[in-house]
């Protein structure tokens, strides 16, 4: 298939693999965090790690929009669907994420709540036009990639004068999360996690550009290579990161030049800036409260903000006992370090969010890598 096969070419992969083997010094380790769940998925789906030498390791980052949403926000969504009786529209993955007390939107749906799976926020707009007598809430999640479409929907709703449509906004910001990981004690101290370099997000960077990563590449002296989601992208970006480390450089490099520019998509950025504002802090599953890491809807569009409209407040929620998702999301543990992995927690019966989404590290380990783990 044109424009796909070129990025999955086996001969090119072998060429890159031998370059990586040649250039990675056997005397040191290269721990490279791929930020995005899309990267994690591709590494496992195509078997990219099989082509890496033993001392080059991928550490899976928190870039899975479903995984990082704290349980309390899912409890809030349940409250909207059950107590406020709204039509709650959400992406499919969100429906299966366990909330408090092992509940989920899918279970609420089975019990009669009006929860609908949609493929985009446009579908939710359509549903609100078709149901003028009902409140329709879109459960908006995701990084900078899914934020501009939400902004467009809010503005459309305003322009059309829709009075029954609102957004439960959970959009989060990538650079803040990467910075937080680098500042976390586990990374700073000589300790459990050593992350030598980052493979930066692909789709997110197409929106925000490569420029936002420049600060912490410099500040934390870690190379960042923005990488596409295709397996050859990942391998080339890995080679670029290894070269930076070998040469003692710590720059932002862009492997994904066919899509990402330094400035990004200015129009989308402007749209987002006009519609949303920074939250002073937001809870991430696994990372805790991260300052200035999420967006809320601006006052001018408050009529479309489900949090204001239904007076949604933060709910304290506890992680499932023994679930290591928080550590896994920080790269501090591997899925196989979790007692629940593959025993109690499987994609059919997920305990933690990392096992739900195909972009979650646990789901990728289980689905594509189970044969590697002995005794499961």
């Amino acid at each position: 298939m044109k424009y796909v096969d070129e990025f999955r070419d086996r001969e090119l992969a072998e060429g890159l693999a031998s370059a990586i083997r040649r250039e990675a010094h056997p005397s040191r380790r290269y721990n490279i965090m791929e930020f995005c769940g899309g990267h994690t998925h591709a590494i496992f789906r195509y078997g990219v790690h099989d082509l890496m030498p033993e001392n080059v390791t991928f550490v899976h980052g928190p870039g899975c929009p479903v995984c990082v949403l704290p349980i309390g926000r899912i409890d809030n969504a349940l409250e909207l669907a059950e107590d406020h009786g709204v039509i709650l529209c959400s992406y499919g993955d969100m429906l299966r994420v366990p909330a408090s007390r092992r509940r989920s939107l899918l279970k609420a749906k089975a019990e009669g709540a009006d929860v609908r799976m949609v493929y985009s926020v446009e579908d939710a707009l359509k549903i609100s036009r078709q149901n003028p007598g009902r409140e329709v809430v879109f459960f908006a999640i995701g990084f900078e990639t899914t934020t501009p479409p939400t902004a467009v929907a809010i503005r459309k709703a305003k322009a059309e004068g829709l009075t029954n449509f609102s957004i439960f906004c959970n959009h989060v910001l990538t650079p803040a999360a990467i910075q937080h990981i680098l500042e976390s004690p586990e990374v700073r101290s000589i300790g459990s996690v050593s992350i030598d370099a980052f493979l930066g997000p692909s789709h997110v960077s197409s929106v925000i550009g490569s420029q936002p990563y420049e600060f912490f590449a410099e500040e934390f002296q870690r190379p960042v290579v923005i990488a596409g989601f295709e397996p050859l992208d990942l391998m080339q970006a890995t080679l670029m990161a290894i070269r930076q480390l070998n040469e003692g450089r710590h720059e932002v490099e862009n492997q994904y030049v066919r899509v990402v520019t330094r400035e990004g998509n200015m129009k989308a950025q402007q749209l987002v800036a006009e519609t949303f504002e920074l939250r002073t802090s937001f809870e991430w599953r696994g990372l805790g409260l991260v300052p200035y890491s999420a967006l809320r809807i601006k006052e001018a569009y408050s009529a479309f903000d489900a949090e204001r409209r239904f007076s949604i407040t933060a709910k304290p929620a506890r992680e499932a006992k023994s679930c290591e998702c928080p550590f896994i999301l920080r790269g501090a543990k591997k899925p196989t370090d979790c007692k629940l992995f593959g025993t109690v927690c499987t994609p059919d019966n997920p305990i933690g969010s990392c096992m739900v989404s195909s972009e979650g590290a646990c789901a990728a380990y289980w689905t594509y890598g189970r044969f590697r783990q002995q005794g499961i």
């Binding site: 086996r10 693999a17 078997g47 493929y119 985009s120 990084f143 397996p231 289980w366």
Partner: protein, 349 residues
């Protein structure tokens, strides 16, 4: 309420209008009229003409195979078929996967109040056409009507019986060293149906592969009566079917991704939606597992049949008590091919 019969054109039903009403399921005259003028007119055979509540038939002394399959699909009409043809092909294929020759079908229709009669006739005509083309008649049938909101238009359950030819004995035991073959491209049906789902309409040239496979199977078992497994991968795709076989057989498998046939259009749709063709439904494909020594001959026979033109050898069975399936990726790495968990969902990033 107007009785169905009064709206039904005596000249062949081309002016059929109106909708299914509760009275069509009441068991009274309206029910009989619906059955006679719509269902039996299309199914049209001597068994139904007797007007009994059952069909009696003689069978030769042989091993008899029986199967049943409930069909629900959204949307009811999709490129390459509809729920009617699907209900016929699905059950014929289940019978055929025992190496058997399908003989007869039964069909039970559950209709939702308000369902357009015009659409119902399309479905019944398609059911009849599929059964006629396969030479496997519907010899007994039933219709019920449920209130609006308690069904999804039409549900069809079909039962099939068939007989296994002498000398054919297809088990469900794949053995280490066996060859794994597939009869053609995977994922066509699922992609065709997805392309017409509400909220997900996209343009694709892919049509459902819905087809009755008993003709292909007859030639396969004639050539290689000692087939170890035959199965048609439906929901859950090729991955689910291979995992079922692996688990039942207590053996592992090693697949070669580049050998698995997938149409470019299906691949493109999967790329777009973030889906994997190995997990997408099929309705006219089969997986065959046989001794390695028989694989070449079996593949030749399959490729000579119109429904097996793209048949391919895709991997081998291995000794593995975990019954895991791994796959050499096109890219040169290795990955696990697990069961599907939940529904395949398009990705959101």
């Amino acid at each position: 309420m107007t009785l169905f019969a009064t709206r039904f054109a005596s000249d062949g039903g081309t002016r059929l209008d109106g909708a299914v009403e509760m009275i069509h399921g009441s068991g009274g005259r309206a029910t009989t009229e619906l059955v006679r003028t719509l269902f039996h007119r299309h199914f049209d055979n001597a068994y139904l003409a007797q007007g009994n509540d059952q069909a009696a038939f003689d069978m030769e002394a042989a091993q008899v195979v029986m199967t049943t399959d409930a069909h629900v699909v959204s949307p009811l009409f999709f490129p390459g078929g509809d729920i009617g043809s699907l209900a016929v092909h699905g059950t014929i294929n289940y019978v055929a996967m025992a190496g058997a020759r399908p003989l007869y079908l039964s069909a039970a229709f559950i209709l939702e109040e308000g369902f357009p009669l015009r659409d119902l006739e399309r479905i019944v005509a398609s059911t009849a056409r599929a059964s006629r083309d396969a030479s496997v008649p519907v010899i007994t049938d039933d219709t019920k009507v449920v209130e609006k909101g308690k069904g999804d238009g039409v549900f069809i359950t079909t039962t099939g019986v068939g007989i296994v030819p002498a000398g054919v004995n297809i088990g469900d035991r794949a053995k280490s060293g066996d060859a794994i073959l597939v009869s053609g491209t995977v994922g066509d049906h699922g992609v065709a149906v997805l392309s017409k789902r509400e909220n997900l309409t996209f343009e694709t040239g892919i049509v459902s592969d819905s087809a009755a496979l008993h003709g292909l199977v007859a030639e396969m078992v004639a050539a290689v009566p000692a087939l170890h497994c035959l199965r048609d991968p439906k929901r859950g795709g090729l991955a689910a079917t291979l995992n079922e076989i692996a688990q039942q057989s207590g053996a592992g498998m090693r697949l070669v991704e580049s050998a698995i046939p997938v149409k470019v259009g299906a691949l493109a749709a999967c790329e777009l939606l973030g889906l994997d063709p190995l997990y997408i439904a099929n309705q006219g494909k089969l997986v065959a597992i046989c001794e390695k020594a028989d694989a070449g001959r079996l593949l030749d026979v399959m490729r000579r049949h119109p429904l097996g033109l793209d048949a391919a050898l895709i991997g081998e069975v291995l000794a593995d008590p975990h019954a895991f399936i791994s796959m050499k990726t096109r890219f040169g790495g290795s990955r696990m091919v697990d069961w599907l968990a939940g529904d395949p969902l398009p990705r959101n990033c």
